[in-house]
């Protein structure tokens, strides 16, 4: 019997050794914070808001691709042979629904929206944070930042895709949402920006880099202008205070003069904070990727993939000093005046080009872009606001007020205080706005949207491959259709 007792003990032992603790199977991820314990103080809410900014920096947007996509579509760029074929599709309007850059643009915008919605949709938890941990002013400011960013990303999306899925406060829903009419999205954008206008802090009070009251007012005005709601747009623009034009046009595009008097809304890059992850995915936005590639891509001393087109150059009137803030020519000095541009610096695959981009290049202070630039992208600057105000005023106030606004911008360009007469007709003022936006904001990703909303794309882009019934919108990426059961090929934009 003793033997069997031992066997019995061992038998139970065989299993007892292992089964002692089912809790061994309950593990939590030591690398991650859990949502249950988050949103307990100001720093945590702020970090969730910060994350929503990060997608603006990505290669899919201002890190790289947005420059190519918009400047190529607007034909402000002439491409050199080494421009990669996928970038060239935007010049020739040959992109289709498999295009990777369009997918990245869509993806990174929606990731930004999702991060903003994480804050907005967690309001019940955030509202429960006690006042001594998070003041109500800052709470509202944080909601304002999140809603401003959501509006910024959605505005980029509706301009390029029209109807898009609408997420209002839900986040990381795996199954996706159906396409909502553009009008519904615009309504949310306007609500968000009205909230942001009321709750964001003013420039100078807020930390540099965050969305401000002025930025929200300007973006709200821009959205309303795009909707042809000129009177409301003008009201929003007119609320802006503390902004003016830089004395020197080129100060808008240098690193040392960021956040100047003209700056309304910038995407931040800062090499000193780290650039180790600058190539780290076009859409994710994590890591130290505080560099943009525009200088490397566009610069004639570096990859020189493109240069300002003949059409753009020819648009400058004689005596317009902006041409020298926008483009380099043979004989221009650079590197703090220590070097001079030579003809050989303009050669692309053995062919000498007449000019090169200067806006946003670091050559004013160095000889090489070193694959990273810390110059912030100006999404909205006050000259843009003045010209949008002129466009609105021409519709709802008077031609003379509009001309006055245009002349403020032209005066800095070297044309004297009253270079356009106040007697211009409404149509002439409109033409003046069209012209002035083209030369003032060249290479700043506004012209293509302008051409579309003015209905001028078909004429201006004739012969490039542009077809008005198709290319005013981009195709919804294939990956959206394959990954979202609520979006089908039937939702695809016309012509794709």
């Amino acid at each position: 019997m003793k033997k069997y007792k031992i066997i019995f003990l061992l038998l139970t032992g065989v299993f007892a050794i292992n089964s002692c603790n089912e809790n061994d199977l309950e593990l939590t991820d030591p690398n991650q914070i859990t949502p249950e314990t988050y949103f307990a103080n100001e720093a945590q809410v702020q970090a969730a808001v910060n994350a929503a900014y990060a997608n603006l920096q990505t290669v899919g947007l201002y890190g790289r691709l947005i420059w190519y996509m918009f400047d190529n579509m607007s034909q402000e760029n002439e491409d050199n042979p080494q421009m990669e074929p996928d970038k060239r599709t935007f010049k020739e309007f040959t992109f289709n629904s498999t295009n990777g850059e369009i997918r990245d643009f869509w993806d990174t915008c929606f990731r930004g929206i999702n991060k903003a919605n994480f804050v907005i949709g967690s309001a019940a938890i955030i509202d429960a944070i006690p006042e001594n941990e998070l003041s109500s002013t800052n709470r509202q400011k944080f909601y304002g930042e999140a809603r401003f960013l959501r509006a910024q990303y959605y505005f980029m999306l509706v301009n390029r895709f029209g109807n898009v899925p609408l997420h209002n406060g839900d986040f990381s829903q795996p199954e996706g949402k159906p396409i909502s009419p553009k009008a519904d999205v615009i309504n949310l954008i306007i609500e968000d920006l009205e909230f942001a206008s009321a709750n964001l802090l003013s420039k100078g009070v807020e930390d540099q880099g965050r969305a401000t009251k002025g930025a929200a007012q300007a973006l709200l005005g821009k959205v309303l202008l795009y909707e042809n709601r000129h009177a409301e747009a003008l009201i929003s623009f007119n609320k802006m205070s503390g902004y003016d034009l830089e004395v020197d046009f080129y100060d808008n595009f240098k690193e040392e003069t960021e956040h100047g008097i003209e700056s309304v809304w910038e995407v931040q890059y800062d090499l000193t904070l780290g650039t180790g992850n600058k190539w780290g995915g076009a859409v994710v936005g994590s890591g130290q990727n505080h560099a943009t590639f525009r200088g490397q891509d566009y610069g004639n001393l570096n990859w020189f993939n493109c240069y300002p087109s003949d059409d753009l150059f020819d648009s400058y009137e004689a005596g317009d000093n902006r041409v020298n803030g926008t483009m380099y020519f043979v004989g221009d000095t650079y590197n703090n005046g220590n070097n001079t541009m030579e003809a050989a610096n303009f050669v692309a695959e053995s062919d000498e080009k007449p000019r090169a981009w200067k806006k946003y290049q670091n050559y004013y202070k160095q000889t090489d872009e070193v694959q990273e630039s810390g110059i912030n992208a100006k999404v909205i600057r006050y000259a843009d606001v003045l010209l949008m105000m002129a466009e609105c005023a021409n519709e709802v106030t008077s031609q003379s007020v509009a001309v006055g606004l245009i002349n403020r911008v032209r005066e800095r360009a070297g044309f004297g205080p009253n270079s356009l007469p106040t007697t211009l007709s409404k149509a002439q003022v409109f033409e003046a706005v069209v012209q002035e936006r083209k030369v003032e904001l060249a290479g700043e990703q506004v012209r293509f949207d302008d051409l579309i909303r003015w209905g001028r794309a078909a004429t201006f882009l004739a012969g490039t491959g542009y077809q008005d019934g198709i290319h005013r919108l981009w195709p919804i990426p294939d990956q959206e259709i394959s990954s979202n059961p609520n979006v089908t090929s039937a939702d695809q934009n016309p012509g794709y």
Partner: protein, 991 residues
């Protein structure tokens, strides 16, 4: 009852009682067919448990033998023999190599089994086959050795090949489970191939379901060598040789390139003297590498203990410059027997340093080599770093100098691995044994890369004006605790029963940290510099628990039945679905035992067997079921980094195992006393609840980007055949073994329309696709149809889109598959399948007196390859890179009868299409060797063995593939490190 003396010989377990009688003493010698004495051979009197083992010299003595006794001589990997004693008192026995020999002892999950009673699908590979090839990693040596096992090697020294058993059964990892001496490990790279005694490849449910939730991809069971009975034996072997790679793509030389460049209006702005260079960039990156290997082992055994010690040093230079692998490995295995209590251990330590291929801009060295323009020299002492590269424009700026990419950095990947086990066994009573084992798999790795500042050209196109240093360390530890009870009993002489109850717990931990930083001031310090510092760390843990019950029964080794059930739990799954059950059952009928064929039938073995069961797969990442936050979304706020955190998305609390139901039917045949053997297998596997990373709707914006769910189903089926023949005529013995296997899969349920994978370079989409009704990862794209030679041909295709202007004469014409008068992504179809129709291996070996020779051929048939190099070579990027000489025949308005598109053509020329798909079938002379064993008499007893041999690997490859090496994972050639041809010379000495 006589106590079992040699309990580890499984054949004993099916024997019943013995009857003793005092008669005479028999002694003898056992040798293999090369004349080498075999220690540790089991000699048993049939129908009894009485027997002995040969000693170190292959000698044995057996007392109390009756003339009517039949001796059964068995040895792992050899065909067993039965000898009627009769009048003989001295026996000279030669054991033949078994070709899947019927009487061999087969290592199975948690035990051993006689091949006779095996009802599952198991292939075995023995030490001799593994040691034949100069491999750094034992998985490489398995290629072509077992039907249904597919191995795709990579030429990079020290790399692990891709191993698949019976094709693909999941969208995730299809890598088999590796078990070394009972310890579950990640792969076989941590042990010296020379230490391997035997490998069993478990392929069906009745053999793999014992591993429950981890067995569905098949199991590779490795047993390492143990000491053999007899006095100590010291073996020393050395081999050395050269490895080369001689295939080259045909690219343009300087004269041709300049002709091509001027034809596309590219005129490199360079001094004329530069054009006197004619650099063959492929020759610059390839080299002849030396390989050398020294091995020493010592083996000893007594009745109560065995010891085995080994040490190996291996050094291999790659065939690509500045790549290589170096390893020191040590092993100590021992076992002790104190009667009822036995214990033992295995332990190996390996220290390695591997230097693999560096990548530039995510492109392979071969890609850079074929795109680099030939007029640039490799070196230029005037440039920082001493290399020359292209300038901004004109030279093609993203073809980097591949020699600089590979040789300028100082890098290494050092690893320490320890794999060991400790076990104890106690005989509780007759037939009942308790066993406990703890196993350890430990690694500690460190990698670092230092890149001094450089500038390949004054234009700084490829330049780094700072020194960068990155380094990381990783640590991992897996512990396996296994307790089991095994009961073996024969009832009424013919009912053989074996029962196993087992509990197992595993705990895997890993952690790592790494950092990178720059030094703007100096290149002298290989340390983290002061700026751009970035650090990271992480760790994870997986725990598993499992219980197994198994019953094996056979009636007189004629009717065989076995069944098992395993319950497994894993921390990788949420509490809703944490436990899974994995049953299996199998039947075997040894028809040849029925007496149907008569006594003098030439068919000595005929067995029909079948198995069915369910196995699982939990190979997804850890913690996937729980919702988490994720950080790192930094944004500059003021002058500071603003920390960013968001919800990660992608969690699914209902995750559970993948389940694969496997059916296997097999037939074994042996003719003329196993002179000819054949095994046929048919299998049909159905995978369900496959973990599909369903992409979350792109517009959901989830950071994870996907959610893992149990969605998919696949059916995989195929056949395998193994044929063996061996013969002896006088001093000449020879054998031939052939195996062939096929595996087809069809996706039945996917949950999404498609899963594109394997991205094409330059953002041109994905090359492979998963979709319902097709094989996993088939090629998917447009169908090309020559070149538009004139505008009329363009207009004829774009009938619905006549305004399109981008496609012009000279561009690639694609078929309008859906007939809508336009060419777009809707015209893509399934183009080809990168999975082979079948893979095969043929081994021929022969011995004549002291000479031995072997020839080993492997191949795959019916496989398609997507050659992305061809895209580059034929000007795919549309930029002024170097390329194939066919570019000189590009379409121009004056050359309208060509098949090469116009240079820099329309975007659609970059589409994924059948244009780059080639037949990747190949037949390869994997190994040929010839050896001579100097007779031991020659050394007058100082040496017992002295063999010299020469061998060659991969000397001949027959293929239509135009790329460098057709052996590719997932069928896409991105410029993969090709496998070398090698020539070796070696010596093996024993004393």
């Amino acid at each position: 009852m006589v106590k079992m003396k040699i309990v580890l010989i499984a054949i004993l377990m099916i024997c019943s009682q013995s009857i003793l009688a005092q008669t005479k003493t028999v002694n003898g010698t056992v040798k293999d067919n090369s004349g080498e004495t075999l220690p540790g051979v089991s000699i048993l009197i049939k129908g009894t448990q009485k027997g002995t083992e040969t000693d170190f010299d292959g000698q044995f003595t057996l007392n109390s033998v009756e003339p009517t006794d039949e001796l059964v001589i068995t040895y792992i990997g050899k065909t067993s023999q039965s000898i009627l004693v009769g009048a003989q008192t001295s026996l000279n026995i030669v054991l033949q190599e078994s070709a899947e020999g019927l009487d061999e002892v087969v290592i199975v999950a948690y035990g051993k089994q006689s091949r006779k009673t095996v009802t599952g699908a198991i292939s075995t590979v023995d030490a001799k086959e593994i040691s034949e090839l100069p491999v750094t990693n034992a998985e490489q040596a398995l290629q072509g050795r077992a039907a249904g096992l597919t191995v795709v090697n990579n030429g990079s020294p020290g790399s692990s090949p891709q191993v698949r058993i019976r094709g693909l059964s999941t969208f995730g990892s299809n890598s088999p489970l590796y078990v070394i001496d009972g310890v579950i490990v990640g792969n076989l790279s941590g042990i010296s191939p020379a230490d391997i005694e035997n490998v069993s490849i478990l392929k069906d449910a009745s053999t793999t379901a014992l591993y429950g939730a981890r067995g569905s991809n098949g199991v590779v069971l490795v047993t390492t060598k143990s000491g053999k009975s007899g006095k100590g034996k010291l073996n020393f072997s050395v081999y050395t040789g050269a490895q080369t790679f001689t295939n080259r793509y045909d690219v343009m030389n300087t004269v041709q390139y300049l002709q091509f460049a001027s034809s596309i209006n590219v005129f490199p702005n360079r001094p004329l003297s530069l054009f006197q260079n004619d650099t063959d960039w492929q020759d610059e990156i390839f080299q002849t590498g030396l390989i050398k290997d020294f091995k020493l082992d010592y083996s000893k055994g007594t009745e109560n203990s065995t010891q085995f010690f080994s040490a190996e040093y291996l050094k291999q230079e790659g065939t690509i410059i500045n790549t290589g692998f170096e390893r020191y490995s040590f092993r100590a295995n021992s076992s002790y027997n104190t009667g009822k209590f036995k214990f033992g251990q295995t332990m190996s330590v390996a220290i390695s340093n591997s230097r693999g291929e560096q990548s530039g801009g995510g492109r392979t060295l071969i890609t850079h080599a074929i795109k680099s323009v030939p007029f640039l020299p490799v070196y230029n002492p005037n440039n920082n770093g001493g290399f020359q590269g292209p300038s901004n424009a004109g030279d093609g700026q993203d073809a980097e100098n591949p020699v600089r990419i590979q040789t300028h950095p100082e890098f290494g990947n050092k690893n320490l691995g320890i794999i060991g086990s400790l076990y104890g066994e106690y005989d509780l009573m007759e037939g009942l044994k308790f066993r406990t084992q703890v196993g350890l798999d430990y690694y500690n790795g460190r990698n670092s890369t230092f890149i001094a500042s450089f500038s390949d050209d004054p234009s700084n196109t490829h330049a780094q004006d700072f020194a960068s240093y990155s380094a990381g360390a990783s640590f991992g530890q897996a512990l396996v605790f296994t307790n089991s009870l095994k009961y073996i009993k024969t009832f009424a002489e013919k009912h053989n029963v074996e029962f196993l109850a087992l509990a197992e717990q595993t705990e895997n931990k890993s952690s790592g940290f790494g950092g990178s930083a720059r030094n703007l001031v100096t290149d002298e310090l290989q340390q983290f510099g002061p700026v751009n510092q970035s650090i990271g760390s992480g760790n994870s843990k997986t725990t598993r628990q499992g219980y197994l019950g198994q019953l094996n029964y056979n009636y007189d080794t004629k009717y065989i039945f076995s069944a098992s059930v395993r319950r497994d739990a894993s921390s990788r799954f949420g509490s809703n679905n944490r436990w899974g059950t994995f049953p299996s059952a199998s039947l075997g009928w040894v028809i040849s035992e029925e007496g149907f064929f008569g006594e003098d039938s030439r068919i000595n073995n005929l067995k029909l067997r079948s198995s069915y069961g369910i196995t699982g797969n939990d190979a997804i990442g850890d913690y996937r079921y729980s919702a988490t936050l994720t950080g790192g979304f930094e944004y500059p706020i003021g002058d500071n980094n603003g920390a960013g955190v968001t919800e990660n998305g992608g969690s699914n609390p209902d995750l559970k195992w993948e389940e694969i139901a496997m059916l296997n039917i097999g037939l074994d045949v042996g003719i003329d006393n196993n002179k000819f053997t054949a095994s046929l297998e048919y299998f049909k596997n159905r995978s369900d609840d496959l973990l599909v990373q369903l992409p979350t709707a792109l517009s959901s914006g989830s950071n994870a980007g996907n959610i893992t769910a149990n969605i998919g189903s696949i059916e995989t089926k195929g056949f395998e055949a193994m044929l063996g023949y061996n013969d002896t005529e006088g001093d000449f013995t020879w054998s031939a073994n052939f195996n062939i296997g096929s595996s087809d899969n069809e996706v039945l349920v996917l949950g999404v329309d498609e899963i594109p994978r394997n991205a094409m370079k330059d953002g041109a989409g994905n090359i492979t696709n998963i979709q319902v009704g097709e094989s996993i990862d088939h090629f998917y794209g447009l169908v090309s149809d020559g070149i538009y030679q004139n505008q009329a041909e363009v207009d004829a295709v774009f009938t619905a889109n006549p305004a399109q202007t981008t496609v012009q004469p000279g561009d690639i014409r694609y078929k309008d598959i859906n007939g809508d008068g336009d060419i777009n992504s809707d015209d893509r179809i399934v183009l080809a399948n990168p999975l082979p129709d079948f893979t095969y291996g043929l081994n021929l070996s022969a011995n004549y007196k002291n000479f031995d020779a072997s020839l080993f051929i492997t191949g795959v048939e019916g496989v398609d390859v997507y050659n992305t190099n061809k895209y580059d070579l034929e000007g795919g990027a549309g930029r002024a890179f170097n390329g194939s000489t066919v570019l000189l025949n590009s379409w121009t308005p004056g050359n309208v009868t060509t098949t090469v598109p116009r240079f820099g053509g329309a975007q659609q020329n970059h589409s994924i299409s059948d244009r780059y798909i080639e037949d990747g079938s190949y037949t390869r002379l994997k190994n040929i060797s010839i050896g001579y064993t100097v007779p031991s008499k020659f050394f007058e007893g100082y040496l017992t063995k002295f063999r010299i041999y020469a061998s060659g690997q991969n000397l001949i490859t027959i293929t239509d593939y135009t790329g460098l090496d057709p052996e590719l994972t997932s069928g896409v050639d991105y410029g993969r490190y090709p496998q070398p041809k090698s020539f070796l010379f070696g010596v093996q000495i024993s004393l």
